[in-house]
């Protein structure tokens, strides 16, 4: 599904290298987790994959289902099936959440040559999905993420993911700032989307999210590289011993 090879990324504005040769393959239908200390480059990886400005790829490739995505516009990557649940979802005053969702869903359908959803069809689907994430009508009406609590913002990310039905879902610290109940809700939302044709890359700091979203593979990222890869037990090791041991071991 997603194949990243030797990815080197620096900042456009300053001479700073952040990703220093990332290699990572996420197979179709699998859930991979990336853990790692703050500042190791996890968010940068997710931004570069989704096409944010300001980064310069100096070497390496990233392919989604065999197609190089690094030269594509963000909207093209989205239409190709990539989705990023933001670590910090953006507030957009003046743009209604519902309008935003419908515009996004229909833009992707249009880009893929599918028929757009009618207002009524859309409403039916969005209400159903919002309900399971405990997103009320008011949150749908309000401007995108404006005045949302941290948990509401994260649930809104999952709602977008559920509506857009991407093939490759990247979740950047979706658990941060969530209490246990909210995390369960988010995890249920994610698990409901698990499917043989859909892959996940779950970036997290803590093991606890991985109790709810069971990963197939766990990677440890440090200083711009994947330094260790293992099964779910690797997450437990981090939980129990912190990163220090692992980092010392690979150093």
């Amino acid at each position: 599904m997603l194949e990243i090879k030797n990815l080197h990324v620096g900042l456009e504005e300053e001479d700073k290298q952040i990703l220093k040769g990332v290699n990572l393959t996420v197979e179709t239908g699998k859930v991979h987790a990336i853990m790692g200390p703050n500042g190791s480059g996890k968010s940068t990886l997710s931004y570069v994959l989704s096409g944010k400005d300001g980064y310069e790829v100096t070497d390496g490739t990233a392919e989604l289902e065999g197609t190089d995505i690094l030269d594509m516009e963000p909207e093209e990557r989205a239409a190709a099936g990539l989705f990023l649940a933001f670590q910090y979802p953006v507030e957009i005053p003046g743009v209604g959440n519902m309008t935003f969702l419908r515009t996004a869903v229909n833009a992707q359908r249009k880009a893929r040559g599918e028929e757009e959803l009618s207002a009524a069809e859309f409403l039916k689907v969005v209400r159903e999905k919002a309900k399971s994430l405990k997103i009320d009508a008011d949150m749908l009406k309000r401007p995108v993420n404006v005045g949302f609590s941290g948990g509401e913002k994260k649930r809104n990310e999952i709602l977008q993911m559920a509506m857009l039905e991407p093939k490759m879902c990247i979740l950047d610290e979706t658990d941060s700032g969530l209490d246990v109940d909210a995390m369960k809700l988010v995890a249920e939302g994610v698990n409901a989307l698990r499917d043989a044709g859909r892959s996940f890359l779950v970036i997290t700091h803590y093991q606890r999210l991985l109790d709810h979203i069971k990963p197939d593979v766990v990677h440890i990222m440090a200083d711009g590289k994947i330094v260790k890869t293992g099964g779910p037990e690797l997450a437990l090791e981090v939980e129990n011993n912190g990163y220090a041991d692992i980092l010392a071991e690979v150093a």
Binding site: D53, I92, F100, Q108
Partner: protein, 424 residues
């Protein structure tokens, strides 16, 4: 006593139209003042950011007619429709001048009468607005205008009065003057839309008596080459409300002046505008609000989206007289620049002589929020569409000032349609 313009411009030769005593008196006074001040000039402080040359030239610069199959703004609104073609009232395209709670008459008819209520408004509010700053284009209008309506609302109007200004001749030069009075407790909405002419000089005087409410919503027409100078003069009685909103898309030159005076306590005024300019577009909002009563609130909200060398100007002044305690004056002007070639100039001014007031003003210029743009595009929304969404959201904050939700929605969908078709 009216201050003279520093650099006296050309004094046009004026022959005021015939009419009854009240009209002639006002016209002669305006003509006399104009002889004193001359027409505005580029070097005048009040025209520092906007060159008035084409507005004061003897002839209008020809302007191509903009053709569109889109329905006119507000065409879905149930209103008394009054149509002008190139600045001339066309009764054949207009509704009957009948509206419960409202008297509607042409200026020409009213001006023939020797005694008329309009004598207390026509040229009077405009005259008061000539100090401390001269407004020669308004003097010219009062002296010369033969077109326009006198409207008096005695109660709550059953529906709005909607002026539709069609533009059919490339060389038309229009001078229109509306005189409006709201009696105590009256409520009236006036809609205006259309470019009117190659060049238009429009004045609207509005007397709002105690407890009355006046609503004004205007869309200035999409002709790219039209030139427009408008003045609104309003005087507000106690507990009254005045709200004016203007949407401007296109037009090579627009200068909208609003001169508002609070004379009764506890009144409210909002003057707001949203404009979107692309290329040969110069748009100037100039507002002067005088608080001369206690506990009045004024709001100025102006948003301009500019690209390809478009120019936006805002000059907004709040004057608080010594006795106008508890004044609440708010003013915001914002420019959203879609490229680096465009210009936004803002000159906010506060002049406060009372001590117990809350006045705030702010002005910002910025580009599209890249973080928001990335968020939208990362969800699959194409770049241009995402940019339009953010632009509409920006302008929407000014449209929010329109009290009537249906009219506000109308304005939003108008803008949305125009933007969508721009890049088809």
């Amino acid at each position: 006593m009216s201050a003279k313009l520093k650099n006296k411009g050309v004094v046009p030769s004026i022959t005021v139209p015939d009419g009854g005593k009240w009209a002639t008196t006002a016209r002669n006074a305006a003509a006399e003042l104009l002889t004193e001040t001359g027409l505005p000039h580029r070097r005048d402080e009040y025209w520092k950011y906007t060159d008035p040359t084409t507005l004061t030239a003897p002839e209008a610069t020809p302007a191509a007619i903009f053709k569109s199959d889109d329905p006119l703004p507000f065409s879905g609104v149930d209103a008394v429709k009054i149509v002008f073609v190139d600045g001339i009232y066309d009764p054949s395209q207009s509704d009957a001048l009948e509206l419960a709670g409202v008297e509607i008459e042409t200026l020409a008819d009213a001006a023939q009468k020797d005694i008329h209520w309009a004598g207390s408004v026509f040229g009077v509010l405009e005259g008061r607005g000539q100090s401390p700053v001269s407004r020669p284009l308004a003097s010219y209008n009062t002296a010369m205008a033969e077109q326009g309506f006198v409207i008096r609302a005695t109660g709550k109007a059953a529906k709005p009065v909607s002026f539709i200004y069609l533009h059919e001749s490339e060389t038309s030069d229009a001078v229109i003057h509306h005189t409006i009075k709201l009696d105590e407790g009256a409520d009236l909405t006036v809609l205006e839309n259309g470019p009117a002419a190659a060049r238009i000089n429009a004045v609207m005087e509005v007397e709002v008596a105690d407890n009355a409410a006046f609503h004004h919503v205007r869309a200035q027409g999409r002709d790219h080459e039209r030139r427009t100078a408008t003045h609104i003069f309003a005087r507000l009685g106690a507990e009254s409300s005045f709200k004016s909103f203007t949407l401007t898309v296109n037009g090579v030159l627009t200068r909208n002046d609003a001169i508002i005076e609070f004379t009764g306590d506890n009144a409210h005024a909002t003057v707001a505008g949203a404009c979107a300019g692309d290329g040969a577009f110069h748009h100037d909002d100039t507002v002067f609000i005088t608080h001369d009563a206690v506990n009045c609130e004024s709001r100025q909200v102006f948003k301009k989206v500019l690209r390809n060398g478009a120019v936006g100007v805002f000059q907004g002044k709040i004057l608080v007289q010594p006795d106008a305690q508890k004044t609440d004056g708010y003013q915001i002007s914002q420019g959203l620049m879609l490229d680096e070639n465009s210009t936004f100039q803002a000159k906010p001014e506060l002049e406060i002589y009372a001590d117990d007031v809350a006045c705030s003003h702010g002005s910002t210029v910025g580009a599209i929020d890249e973080t928001a743009l990335f968020y939208l595009t990362s969800r699959g929304i194409p770049h241009k569409e995402a940019q339009d969404m953010l632009t509409l959201a920006f302008l929407g904050e000014a449209i929010d000032e329109v009290e009537d939700d249906a009219l506000a929605d109308d304005l939003r969908s108008l803008l949305q349609g125009w933007m969508a078709r721009r890049h088809g």
